[in-house]
């Protein structure tokens, strides 16, 4: 398998603080890749680097042979990188469908159809809507399409972020703590959904999680960060076998 995403020697400094130091990571095409580590290890910082929200101080990011660091943030969705957010980035006063629709892209700029009630406009809008509903179906939430988001439980909202990301038809889907705040049943459903997405959509998934059971169940490979450095990288069960990983977790366990 070839690497879809290659992270080489990424270093991030905030003022004098090093958030990441020489991080290397390879995410294989079609895999589910876990990114774990204690709080403050730099997991979200790394995701933000890949998502072009944080500019790394040094290092290279290559996605499908494309140099990501040469790309502005708004190019990522087009290249095939989509993500969810740790603290949810949804419009609470809008409906679920409206939120999911944000993920949709059409080729080309705005046209006259965006300003006038033309026939083609209705056709395109109907198409978009169908796509968004299909994406909602992937996370089993299509029945809530017309509800306001603010009223839905936290777990649903996390899934809606996934549906929104799916709308961009990504090659790489990055999930930032999708399991946080989920009950065991919901977590099971999420695991099923993630695997199904990989199978049916051919997605590569990079996810951050604190739940080791979930990780063992869905991930093909795992990278472990601690204090901004990669301390381990390999098959998921290394979390049990690797001494450094256990030390890092025991040192800062919850």
């Amino acid at each position: 398998m070839t690497a879809l995403l290659e992270v080489s020697e990424i270093t991030v400094r905030f003022g004098g603080v090093r958030a990441l130091t020489g991080v290397n990571m390879q995410v294989a095409e079609g895999s589910v890749h876990g990114l774990i580590g204690p709080n403050g290890a730099g997991k979200t910082t790394l995701l933000n680097c890949i998502g072009r929200v944080i500019e790394p101080t040094e290092g290279r990011l290559v996605f499908a042979r494309d140099d990501l660091r040469a790309r502005p943030t708004h190019d990522l969705a087009r290249l095939g990188v989509a993500r969810t957010f740790q603290n949810l980035a949804l419009m609470d006063d809008r409906t679920v469908l409206d939120n999911v629709l944000v993920g949709l892209r059409r080729a080309g700029g705005f046209t006259l159809h965006d300003f006038l009630p033309t026939r083609r406009r209705f056709a395109l809008e109907a198409e978009d809507r169908a796509t968004a509903l299909a994406a909602l179906a992937q996370v089993d939430l299509q029945q809530f399409a017309h509800q306001k988001i603010g009223k839905l439980p936290y777990g649903y909202r996390k899934s809606i972020e996934i549906a929104r990301a799916l709308c961009t038809r990504p090659r790489l889907l990055m999930l930032d703590e999708p399991t946080a705040g989920l009950n065991p049943t919901e977590m099971d459903q999420l695991g099923i959904a993630v695997r199904r997405m990989r199978e049916t959509l051919g997605l590569t998934v990079l996810l951050i999680t604190h739940h080791i059971e979930f990780l063992l169940e869905v991930a093909d490979r795992v990278t472990v960060l601690d204090l901004g450095c990669v301390i381990a990288d390999g098959a998921p069960d290394l979390v049990h076998t690797d001494a450094r990983v256990r030390a890092a977790y025991l040192g800062a366990d919850e």
Partner: protein, 322 residues
């Protein structure tokens, strides 16, 4: 679903409820054709302010860009049109189009600070910019200095005791309302709302912030320019004071008093700021106080504006009548 916002319905695919709304709107718009010349002039002003307010709602309501520079666009619309007519001898529609293009450029220019600034900082900067435009036209001879410009008389403005011109303004207002509805219910609206709610999130989903903010400004500039041109035509005298930064505040007030949750909110707001001063002037000095009191009462009791009040009334009526 109790109360479907305009935003989630498609134009053309109307529900019975919005058909009623449309009928009411058409009736209201036709009524001034049968009123006195003066009432028709007031209604014409209403339409013009409504065009301006509907346009301002796009940056403020959709993109949370506090643009207080709307008077600059209206000024460009009026002055550029007037100069194209007076110096170039261009026909009015062409002159209006030329002004519109110029205003769109100005809009793109005013969008520049919006990439780095937001909130009231942007409001004050855009207001400062509109003040610069106001000061400039008073300096240059070309723009008539402090006296402004006297337009030649156009037959269509006075034709049929102002009915024709009113119809033009009302028609443009309806067109503007339709376009703004399409903008806010379609993907431009989605993109603008997303960039307002969370710029980082929006960028992650492919939104080019500078481009969409510029788009929001340009759209509002086009509306502002048309409104400014019409205002110039309706008064046939273009005084710099009529396009002072106060005008931005007035149009902003129209948007807020009308309410931004529905496309027709600003239309109501424009009616408010045009009609209430006319109605209260019979009490002379007290008029301004009465206006201010009504203004405070509406904005305090109905933070969502007049459209919130009407939605509330409709909901209450709906409960009573099964």
């Amino acid at each position: 679903m109790g109360d479907v916002p305009f935003g989630s319905q498609e134009a053309g695919h109307t529900s019975p409820r919005s058909r009623v709304l449309l009928t009411v709107l058409v009736l209201v718009l036709v009524a001034p054709l049968f009123a006195t010349g003066y009432m028709r002039y007031v209604a014409t002003l209403w339409m013009i302010y409504a065009i301006a307010a509907v346009g301002l709602q796009i940056p403020i309501g959709l993109a949370a860009i506090y643009s207080f520079g709307h008077s600059a666009f209206m000024l460009v619309g009026a002055y550029a049109m007037a100069l194209a007519i007076m110096l170039g001898g261009w026909p009015v529609p062409i002159a209006m189009l030329a002004a519109l293009v110029l205003a769109a450029l100005v809009g793109a220019l005013l969008a520049l600070p919006s990439l780095r600034l937001s909130g009231f900082a942007l409001a004050i900067v855009t207001m400062g910019a509109s003040s610069l435009f106001f000061q400039s036209v008073k300096v240059f001879k070309l723009t008539g200095g402090p006296q402004g410009l006297f337009l030649p008389e156009f037959a269509f403005v006075k034709a049929m005791d102002g009915r024709a011109f009113y119809a033009i303004c009302a028609g443009l207002m309806m067109l503007g309302l339709m376009v703004s509805h399409c903008v806010e219910s379609g993907r431009i609206g989605r993109v603008l709302r997303a960039s307002a709610a969370n710029p980082l999130m929006a960028q992650s989903f492919g939104v080019h912030l500078m481009r969409v903010r510029t788009l929001a400004f340009v759209i509002s500039a086009v509306y502002g320019s048309i409104a400014g041109s019409l205002l110039g035509l309706s008064t046939s005298y273009i005084a710099p004071e009529a396009y002072a930064p106060d005008l931005s505040i007035q149009v902003f007030a129209a948007v807020m008093i009308g309410g931004m949750a529905r496309a027709w909110g600003p239309v109501l707001g424009a009616l408010f700021i045009v009609l209430i001063p006319e109605l209260t002037q019979s009490v002379q000095n007290l008029g301004a106080i009465v206006y201010a009191l009504i203004f405070i009462a509406v904005s305090t009791v109905y933070p969502g504006g007049l459209q919130q009040m009407i939605s509330g009334l409709r909901a209450r009526l709906g409960k009573r009548v099964p």
